[in-house]
Amino acid sequence: MCARNSIYTTPKPCKHLADYKLRHGFNTYYSIRNCLKTTPNGRTRVAKHTTKIPRCSFCDRYQGRLYFCLMCSSLWCPTHILLHTQSEKGHEVAIDMDRSELYCCLCCDQVYDPDFDKVVVCNQVKDLPGGSKSKTNGFEACGERSSKRKRLDSGIGLDLKKSKLLVSMRDRRAKSCYPLGLRGLNNLGSTCFMNSVLQALLHAPPLRNYFLNDRHNSIQCRKRSGEKLCLLCDIDAISSAMFSGDRTPYTPAHFLYSWWQHSSNLASYEEQDAHEFFISVLDGIHETESKIRNSGKDDGDCQCIAHRAFSGLLRSDVTCISCGFTSTTYDPCVDISLNMDTSNLSSSNANKPIKPDEKTELRDSSKQLSIRRLPLVLCLHIKRVEHSLVRKISRKINQYMQFPFSLDMTPYLSSSIVRSKFGNRIFTFEYDNSNSSAAYEIFAVIAHSGMLESGHYVTYLRLKNQWYKCDDAWISEVDEGIVRASQCYMLFYVQKLLYNEAIEDSSFVHISPRRDPFDSTAGCS
């Protein structure tokens, strides 16, 4: 009964440990179970001698590492433990008292055994304050694998069976032409914030597929709701226009009007913040769909396309430093905002975006953020505003920030954080989402240039491994170096599986009967 671990590779036991286990099984593991003591920060040590100070049986040393022989409970320092193994046959495995790690005296090295780790973890869990009630404890079936398997079945993939008309629109145009779906958007007066976000949204695989599969049918929608404004219908209109094959820049006037109705506080010709717009659009989509379905479901399990694509779950653990009690809360989120570290100019952190797994000290507690459930599309928002309390002004941080094109979110998952809290034991915790992917690929970058009040947004889109710059009405092919050198403001990543799907199937377009599939392909020749 071994706890299997798919993301993390389990080290193989050495020959001596394997032999030892054959002979003695788990007996010795269980016998020291009662001697294991846990500290609030998750460290476990062996504390057998409550009165005496543990010392090496040979040299009386009590400082540094001490090993506890699993067979005879004698104590040895690293220098002299070999003597013990040589004199007593079968006493090959010991345990590091301070760290509760197995040590093979013949290999002279630490060894690992999932069964041992299981015993340690179960003990740690038992020792946690509020143990049986706390949410971190799904361990009633300690070690038994959770039968719940979350399948990556979003139902948002390109639906080959249900499409009404499947037309293979082979690219009859010259190879210098851009892929389908790339089309400029006219600026209607400082609306680059809107254009840039629209470009990113419409090319997010789940949303792209949603509209291409005609999941929001305007005709039916108008029949249902009368002449009321529908944000989804407007986005659908833009999507059809983008994928129609027409390359002349499109004017999203109707959408702008609809959005102004929805977010009247932002309705002006002033330059707006792209991130604020992004949140407001997602909110608008959610409201629209809720009205249609008449469901007022909370963001957590909402089935509207905005939440299905972007919604994730953040976990926050607040731990009291003194006693170790942890309070856990879950909050849904549609994006993650990251602070730029202006003080850190060293290159060592240049390859990592600064992550929200911060530890903030609030009196006697520490807070740890992690991601419980990853969204299909991950949006990272880089906070480039710096507020100076002294001068009472805000200014933009122009600092260049490196970001990866492929992102592995495993270290930021709750399962990883929980694991490290228990000392990185080889153990399957309840939340191991080893079957769902934590690998992401970038597909859009919204970059900002200029100052806080007057700047310009552009979007870089990655289609079939080629980057394109969408600067309002102007689309151009660019080198990946340009993208890396831009001042990134919002980064859009999609789960790798969806990304691969998207680049494979982009030669096929699903067209609904109301659209003429043989639109003249104006533009490129």
Binding site: T39, N41, I53, D60, Y62, P78, C108, D109, Q110
Partner: protein, 113 residues
């Protein structure tokens, strides 16, 4: 006649003989720290400080680089300990040392040693 300095020197300490005879002050302090549980608390505090200031990450990076160079299966825990002990000891920030010293001092005054 002035006595030779060598006569007035205390006898050369014999390692094996001294052990187990009279414990030196350092040992007494250490034992007191452990018995009262203060040592454990100090260790906890030290671990926290060393994580906060990035020392642990530095040591981790050193170990990773070494393992990468030698190969995962050719490295033992002892190798890593010998690798990072000198560098580790040298790079503990002064503020951490000062705090630890302060704590030990206050313990000593409270334990009336």
């Amino acid at each position: 006649m002035t006595r030779k300095h060598s006569v007035n020197r205390p006898p050369t300490p014999d390692g094996a003989e001294d052990q187990g005879n009279e414990p030196i002050l350092q040992e007494i302090i250490n034992i007191k720290l452990i018995e009262s549980g203060e040592k454990e608390r100090l260790m906890e505090m030290l671990r926290e400080r060393l994580i906060e200031c990035g020392w642990k990450d530095e040591m981790k990076a050193l170990c990773r680089a070494y393992v990468k160079k030698k190969g995962r299966n050719n490295v033992t825990v002892d190798d890593l300990v010998h690798l990072i002990t000198p560098k580790g000891r040298a790079s503990v920030p002064d503020s951490v040392k000062a705090e630890l010293l302060q704590r030990i001092r206050s313990f000593l005054t409270s334990a009336a040693l």
